[in-house]
Amino acid sequence: MDLVADWFRTLYETTGINLTIVYDTYDRQRFLSGLGMTVFLSVVSIVLSVVIGAVGAWAQGSPLRVVRALVNGFVVLFRNTPPLVQIFFFYFGLGHMLPRIENADGMMVPLVTNVQWAIISLSLFAGAFNVEIFRSGIEAVPRTTTEAAEALGYTRLGVYRHVLLPLALRICLPALNNNLVNLLKTTTLAYAIAVPETLYVSKQIWTDSQNVPVMMTVLLIVYTGLVGILVFLMHRWERMLSIPGYGQGAAR
C-alpha cells in the first residue's frame, strides 16, 4: 500500500497529476464515503421509483376517476418541473415547515434530513417518469391480450400482475433503462443541498488540493463505471426477458 502511495506521490512530482485520493488517507476516506453515498442514493431511489412506477401505472387504469386524476396530477406535476428546482422546493420550502426534533445528543435536527429529502424528491421525480413509461408499455400490449386474460377470469390486479406487467415490462425496458440511468445521473443534483455524494466530495477535494482537471477526469470515470454497471445489468436483464421473434436480432 505504501508502495502504491509512494508511486502516486512520484507521479505528482514528475507529471503534475495529483491523485490525492490515492495517497492521502483523509481524501481517500472522503472520496470513498462519497462514492458509497452515491450508490446508496441510487439504489434506494431506483427501487422506490420502479415501485412508484408499477403501482402508479396500475392505479392509472383504475375504474375510479379520482384515483386516475390523482395519479395523473402527480405524474404531470413531477414530469414537467426541473428536478433541481424540485429538490430546492422540497428541501428549502417544505423542509422549513416541518418541526425540528431532538436527537440523541440533545441537538435540534430537522425531521427529514437532506439525504432523505434527496431520496424523496429523486424517487418521486423518476417515479413519475416510470409511471408514464409503464403506461406506454401497457398501451403497446394488444387490447385482445387483455380481453383474453379477462375472458379467462383474471381480476383486474391479476391481469395487470400476470399478463400486462410482464409484457409491458419487456416492451418498455429500453425506456426504463434510459430513465434509471438518468436517475443515477440525477443523483449528482443532491450536490445542491449538500448531500456528501461523489460530486460534492470531489469538489471539496479539488478545492483543497487545487487539482480540478484530475478530479474531473476521476469523476467522469467513476460515473461512467457506475452507469456502465447499471447498463450492463439492465442489458443482461433485457436479453434474459426478450420475447423470441420480437425485435430485430440481426443487428446485434
Binding site: S62, L64, L70, G73, F74, A149, L167, T188, L219, G247
Partner: protein, 286 residues
Amino acid sequence: MTSDTSPAPASVLPVLLPFRASQPRRFAPLRLQFIHAVGFIGLALLVGGAAHAQSGADQLSALGVIWKWFPLLMSGFMFNIAISVLSMSLGTIAGLGLGLLAISLNRPLRRTAWGTTQFFRNAPWLVLLFFAMFMIPFQFTIFGTTYPLPDWVKAVIGFALPVMANVSEIVRGAVGSLPSGQWEAAESLAFSRRKTLWLIILPQCVKRMLPPWMNLYSLVTMATVQASIVGVTEMLTLTAQVHAAEGGRPDLLAPLYGFAMLCFFVYCYPIERFTLYLERRFHLHQ
C-alpha cells in the same frame, strides 16, 4: 404476440365466471382507497406548502416580490428556453447520425457508435457540463481573428453531448422494437438494406421515436437550470439573486422556487399534452 405465461385459475368452473368477474369490482375500490389515501396525503402536503407560501405573502407579500421581479425572472426563463432549443437541435442532428451508425452492419462502426453513445449517456449531465465549461477554451482564433466563446455557448455544447447520445439510443431502440417480420417482408420483396431502412423501418420508427424524443426535450429544458451551478446567468441564478436582493428571507424560498416550477410547468405541460396526442393518433393507425 402470445402469452403462454398465464396459468388460468384452475378450480374455477366456467359457469361461475360471471360471479368471479363481479368480485374484483367490489374488491378494487377497497384497494384503491389506500392509494387514494396516499395521494390525499401527498396533496395535503402540497396544499400545506401553498398555505405556507401564502402565510409568507401576508407578512411581506411573496406575490408582490414575484410581481416586482417578474420581467427579470421571465428574461432568465427565456434564456433557458433558448439554450434548450439550441442544444436539442444540435444534439438531434448528431444523434440521428450516431443512431444510424449504431445499427449499421459494419461491426467496427457499430461498436464505435455504441461506445460513443454509452460514453456520453453514462456521464451525468452536470459532470459533462462541468467538462464543457472547463475544457472548451473561452476564445479561439481562426486566421488571426479571435472569437470569444461566451459561457452559454459552452453550456449549449455541454447539453448537446448527452442529447446526442440519448437520441442515438432512441433510434436504436425504436428500430430494435419493430417486429422482425418487417425486415423479412422487405427482404422478400427484394428491397436493399438502405431502402428497407428509409422506406420501411424508419417511417414506422418515427412514431415510436417521437414520444421519447419529446420526453428528452422536456428533460433538456429542465436540465438547463443546472447551468446556474456552472455560472451561466439563467432563471435559477436570477431567482437566488432576487431572494438575496429581498433580504434573504427564508419564507420567500418556497414561493420563489414554486414560481420557477410553475414557469417550467407552463412551458413543458403543453409539450407533454402534444406528445400524448401524437401517441394516441399514432395508435389509431396500428
